[in-house]
Symmetry: C2
Subunit: 339 residues, 2 copies
């Protein structure tokens, strides 16, 4: 089997590290691995497939000879470096928000819209984490009944703010337990034993940018230009795995029984919906695995049309919400012979 | 001013203790206080208005001479004892779910439906905590625009499970931080650094009883027999204060500006809605005070009718969600000369 030169950009971050683990765990055909990061991390070593790899500087020249570059960096870094990687012949799969709404860039969840990959011009965007987690179960329901409207409230783990977010929750929880003063850095306010209804910046319509990602990216990924989406995004004191309370309105009737049937066959989904045995998706169970768990499936009893369904889902934000989805895009591109 | 004989039943529980604090803090005209509880707590002492009060056994005879009995006990205890208290001449204000849907029992949030108190037959029910917190801001919006439909996701603090819930979160958080094994008791699963989408038992329609309280109690309190309510209740690792993400559909147009104007004048509400300065309701800010904070007020951009509003609110579950509401009912009854 052909082996590829794969670069991970931002290799020392939470998502970058998970990309390295994912490439290894899923036996991606990596011939040579390049671990790229900012200057302060250059020279550090990571272990990949049992070998030590030195971190190199992420700059235009670093992409010479690279086939596939997985980017886990800030928007502005991606804006500057992704086109350089493409110029050097690499296919870029980018986890930032920089290219997602660009009309020349496919925005892909492999279980949902793999065909969009055929239109790529060198860069493929990985959607926002909470959007990916919603799209995986929503797509098969859309195919069955036609989704018109989504009302979602998210319960987002601190891992969305990377290693700094994870450390802050751990340290701050201990400080609160000790009765010590806290000093929020990674988040605007105390996150331990608290909730912050604010992720990313506020847009003019008083929704946060994170909330509008579900609206804009949802339309693009599902291919429904007039999809109506109302999202409220909340940061919660959970380490890993975002959870979401979702209500949908569909064109055609959809019962809880059919939802369970459709989702039982859906790729990337695990139905965990046995209330009598206290089984439903929870972040502690969905962390460190690749599926989106879906449960609490029931009729929307507030819907006059009876075409409404409410459910609860949870998925690992760093895995399927970021690193795993990126690697799956690369796998799908190999399968489709696009690389 | 006339002084009353006031009994607090369940005086050693989380809500009972808060009732005692609330009576004291709000200078309720208590002549004699009776602290009633189960046998194991009999003889213990509490301090009320600077005096030591011995806990007595909560039994029928204990209500002789009592004017007002505030009940903070389990449903079955209330079912057995509240009628005995009434027989002895007391007015009962009951925090359990036992009497809420009884057609002879008013279910009251004093800011919302005080007139219902006139119909009382001895027992007045205090609504469910997450229902109270939603009703306080919803009532003035209903008066203005007519609410047809509510879609809510709740983020409920562990205080809903009393002192056992508070202790379990604190101890379990420390155990998780130490890497020790945990042993859930107060909740069905780990609550520290986790979310549990399950409060109270599951009903036949796959909603939890807690979720259906918002449906049933909401209709009764707001006096809208055909109100449509879809609620998802989630336990979160927060000590005090429930938060709620709420979307409403109204009969008549309602803009975010009008919502802010209406709520600024509404009793029991504090509008905290200044995203530019990172100000929005959060449980750490709403704990240990009596108001419901409302923020993140915005148009429901998924609504075709444009008669939709989305907001986020937070309020102390033990205070306004339980003890304070009960004492406010007693205050209102004195004001209305019903006691």
């Amino acid at each position: 089997m052909k082996q590829y030169v794969v670069a991970v950009v931002g290799a020392m971050g939470a998502v970058g590290k998970e990309m390295l683990d994912t490439l290894e765990r899923r036996s991606f055909p990596v011939g040579t691995l390049k671990a790229l990061d900012v200057e302060v991390n250059v020279g550090k070593e990571i272990t990949f497939n049992g070998k030590q790899v030195k971190v190199e500087l992420s700059c235009a020249d670093a992409f010479k000879g690279v086939d596939i570059a997985l980017f886990a960096v800030a928007d502005k870094v991606s804006l500057a470096l992704a086109p350089e990687a493409v110029k050097n012949g690499a296919v870029v799969i980018d986890n930032s928000a920089a290219w997602r709404m660009d009309e020349n860039t496919p925005l892909v969840v492999p279980e949902v819209n793999p065909e969009a990959l055929r239109e790529h011009k060198g860069i493929i965007a990985n959607p926002n984490c909470s959007t990916i987690i919603a799209m995986v179960p929503l797509k098969p329901l859309h195919d069955y009944a036609g989704i018109k409207r989504i009302i979602a409230s998210t319960f987002q783990a601190v891992s969305g703010a990377g290693i700094a977010g994870l450390n802050e929750l751990r340290d701050q929880a201990q400080q609160v337990l000790n009765g010590e003063e806290i000093n929020p850095q990674a988040f605007a306010h105390q996150i331990a034993f608290n909730l912050i209804p604010h992720i990313d910046y506020f847009e003019e319509n008083a929704y946060t940018h994170e909330e509008m990602k579900m609206f804009r990216e949802g339309r693009k990924i599902l291919g429904i230009p007039d999809l109506m989406v109302n999202c409220t995004c909340v940061r919660v004191p959970v380490y890993r795995s975002h959870s979401e309370s979702i209500t949908i309105e569909t064109e055609r009737p959809l019962s809880p029984e059919i939802v369970r049937e459709v989702l039982a066959k859906a790729p990337g989904v695990k139905v965990v919906d046995d209330p009598a045995n206290k089984e439903y998706p929870m972040p502690v169970d969905t962390a460190n695995q690749d599926l989106i768990y879906v449960g609490r499936i029931r009729e929307d009893i507030s819907s006059e049309s009876k075409n409404g369904i409410t459910f609860w889902c949870s998925g690992d934000q760093i895995r399927k919400g970021a690193a795993v989805n990126a690697v799956q895009i690369a796998e799908k591109m190999l399968e489709m012979e696009l690389i």
